[in-house]
């Protein structure tokens, strides 16, 4: 086989277009050790090196993803696993140590009492000396090198990092050091994560300092703006202290939001308990879940309502409350409603409190084309698809073979033609979107095995069998993003416009509207759906966080 022919076969192999006989020939060449086999591997090697040389993925992307995965695992069962491993590494009680070749079992008990005391005293002195040396060394090391407190997990727009006398743009995975300040612009957003899982989401105009040297006993100083804090549980002697110009907030582990204006500080507690004290007077109060404290010179407590959902740009809203058999109302109150009809096969069950359970494949779709959705999005070139769900299985869409996207929310006609689809493949969420560059099925051409996922996808293992908030957005500039539980998990520029959208497609939930000639599957998704909302604009990160905080069963809406 000549080099040119070999190159062509490898090219066809990489494109997934190798025919049976050619595949057998190429496999035989690769298996048979010799110059031809080396040449084939060299061709594969050059392709990989070229892909890496031309890669636009930032060098730090791997570290960021790995840390996110490790942090996610740390909070789950692997913590127990690692604890067990550590326990297994601990030396056993010498009295129960089995006999080895050097010392018979129970030898330590054979030492005379005096000898044992001398040995123990010597060991204690050595241990003290060692500890003192280590402490001294640690002090020197800490002075010499500032310890990284946390890292930046997400940045949106021109967020600035102020360190010493310099100012620089904040980048994903930047280290956050003591004394650093992060300043978020009006349209910006940033997420900072501590090694223990504590997470700070910073929104418009937030200016926060980390362990500022000029304020005693203070971990965070929020000078202005809004921050959502989800604090990992900590012991009483390690309580986290957040200061604002008006308040001192002490937390042991909870979820709360702080809004700081020039006039006051407002603390809204979503979970747990925090202690809020007025800086001026020292007046303090404990703020529990569902309460808001407003602090000026004193602390005023009030019971707050859950955050309202974003209404601006809303096209259709399905909350499934009061679902009578067979009909799901569009309660957005925008233009003509687009009701959905449920196939009367008994596979779809209403859930108490609002929601539907899809226990087996069933058709839930509009009888009319989803014209109000397509027309509005064509006008703005923007879109947001939001849903609260609970998947029935960790792996859907062909299980771990990742064969196809199980449809959760779709405006499409059949398995091959769509405007958009939000769904699940294996243990990830994915979003397909038709543009003039992605084509009729809404996938990136030639994305290989990633094509099934669509244009954006969540990381592996991101599906959980619990209530989950999933949102996909597309801006007029072509940036498509996927958010899971209020956090952006993937974002990419997708070229083209929405001008090739079809007007005749219906809106469907849980599967494709109908089959086509080339497919035998309707790509069903199974699980519970609590809310579906469609917007004619790309919601901003702060708005997605607001809808996430509002929860699945909150239909109160608010302007932006």
């Amino acid at each position: 086989m000549k080099r040119e022919e070999l190159q062509q076969l490898i090219q066809a192999y990489q494109d997934g277009e190798l025919k049976g006989s050619d595949a057998r020939r190429l496999a035989a060449v690769i298996r048979q050790p010799g110059p031809r086999s080396d040449l084939a591997m060299a061709e594969i090697r050059l392709s990989g090196l070229l892909a890496e040389a031309l890669s636009t993925v930032p060098e730090d992307a791997v570290a960021r993803s790995v840390l996110e995965r490790l942090n996610a695992q740390e909070t789950e069962d692997s913590f127990v696993e690692r604890f067990e491993k550590r326990r297994a590494r601990l030396p056993e009680n010498p009295r129960r140590r089995p006999a080895t070749g050097l010392f018979p079992a129970g030898r330590s008990r054979a030492y005379p009492a005096r000898s044992w005391r001398i040995t123990a005293a010597a060991a204690a002195v050595l241990a003290l000396l060692g500890a003192a040396t280590v402490m001294q060394w640690r002090r020197i090391a800490i002075r010499a090198m500032p310890t990284q407190l946390a890292h930046v997990a997400d940045v949106h727009n021109d967020v600035r990092l102020l360190r010493a006398d310099s100012q620089q743009p904040l980048r994903t995975h930047n280290a956050v050091l003591p004394g650093d300040t992060i300043a978020v612009p009006a349209e910006g957003h940033a997420v900072v994560i501590y090694p223990d899982g504590t997470e700070l989401a910073l929104y418009a105009t937030a200016r926060i300092s980390f362990e500022p040297p000029h304020i005693k006993n203070c971990h965070l100083f929020l000078a202005l703006g809004t921050a959502d804090l989800s604090i990992a549980p900590r012991s009483r002697d390690r309580s986290l202290v957040l200061r604002t110009p008006h308040a001192r907030i002490t937390v042991l582990g909870t979820r709360f939001t702080v809004h700081v204006s020039k006039a006051d500080t407002r603390v809204e507690v979503a979970k747990g308990l925090v202690e809020v004290a007025a800086v001026q007077t020292g007046h303090s109060a404990k703020v529990a879940r569902g309460q808001t404290a407003t602090v000026t010179h004193a602390v005023r407590l009030a019971t707050h309502q859950p955050p309202r959902r974003v209404k601006d740009g809303l096209l259709a809203l399905y909350t499934f409350s009061g679902t009578r058999t067979g009909l799901i109302r569009d309660v957005a109150g925008v233009d003509a409603p687009l009701p959905l009809y449920v196939e009367p096969d008994g596979n779809t069950v209403p859930l108490p409190g609002g929601g539907i359970a899809l226990r087996a494949p069933s058709l839930i779709a509009s009888k009319e084309p989803a014209f109000k959705i397509t027309a509005a999005c064509l006008k703005t070139e923007e879109l947001s698809v939001e849903t609260w769900i609970r998947p029935e299985n960790l792996y859907q869409g062909g299980g771990n073979r990742q064969n196809w996207l199980a449809r959760i929310v779709t405006v499409s006609q059949d398995p091959g033609h769509r405007n958009f689809t939000l769904g699940q493949v294996a243990d990830r969420y994915g979003f397909r979107l038709r543009t003039t560059t992605t084509g009729e099925n809404g996938v990136i051409p030639d994305a290989g095995r990633w094509a099934n996922f669509g244009v954006v996808r969540s990381p592996a293992n991101s599906v959980r069998l619990e209530q989950t908030h999933v949102v996909a957005t597309r801006t007029a500039q072509g940036e498509v993003s996927l958010y899971v539980n209020g956090r952006r998990v993937h974002s990419r520029a997708v070229g083209g416009s929405l001008e090739n959208w079809a007007h005749e497609f219906p809106l469907a939930l849980g599967r494709e509207f109908r089959n086509n000639f080339n497919s035998t599957e309707l790509r069903p998704w199974l699980g519970d759906i609590y809310l579906v909302a469609l917007y004619s604009r790309a919601l901003e990160p702060a708005e997605i966080a607001q809808n996430f905080k509002a929860g699945p069963n909150n239909t109160a809406t608010a302007q932006r």
Binding site: S37, G48, L49, L50, A53, A63, L67, R69, M145, P195
Partner: protein, 186 residues
């Protein structure tokens, strides 16, 4: 902080220390994976999985030895598993080639594999020396992983023409790399 200390801390389960190790080794491991895998997305997935595997099994790492070969061996296993899994999943003639590549990967000595980072740097220099049209073609094909047939449709040329052009570019790049690497050798 020195690598040795980071390793000790990572062995005690310190994810933050391990994160710093990832930062130290990610470029090298990506380059290593690129020697066997030709899709950028797959390279990233494999390298991430390899690091997570490494963290899970840090207790098996001998701290008196060097970290890089151990990491490479884990990555090599991941690459082999990637080809095997894909072969099982596809159930097409392509599976035969995937299985054959998986065997070659299994035979490869992770410690003896040459440093790929230099090759990638050299390749970047060589790509910059290409003409605009050639650079565009190679970026479409390898940077954005567009299939030859789709490039042909996009550029309104036949697939055979694109295939031939790509082959010439690859040969030119190979020659450029050989001469560049030779010139920097002592």
């Amino acid at each position: 902080m020195e690598e040795r200390e980071l390793l000790v801390r990572a062995q005690k389960g310190d994810a933050d220390a391990f994160g710093q190790l990832v930062r130290l080794h990610q470029a090298g491991l990506r380059a290593f994976a690129a020697l066997y895998v030709s899709s950028g997305d797959d390279i990233l997935d494999i390298v991430q999985d390899a690091f997570v595997d490494a963290f899970r099994h840090m207790d098996r790492f001998d701290p008196t030895k060097t970290f890089k070969p151990w990491l490479r061996a884990i990555c090599r296993n991941r690459i082999r598993n990637f080809y095997r899994a894909r072969a099982k999943m596809q159930m097409t003639p392509l599976s035969l080639v995937d299985e054959a590549v998986a065997e070659r990967v299994a035979e490869a000595d992770a410690e003896q594999t040459p440093e790929a980072q230099d090759q990638i740097d050299t390749l970047r220099l060589c790509i910059n020396r290409l003409g605009e049209a050639q650079r565009q073609l190679v970026t479409l094909r390898y940077g954005e992983a567009v299939r030859v047939n789709d490039i042909a449709a996009r550029l309104k040329k036949s697939a055979a023409t694109i295939s031939m052009r790509l082959m010439r570019i690859r040969n030119a790049l190979r020659k450029c790399m050989q001469s560049s690497l030779q010139t920097v050798l002592p």
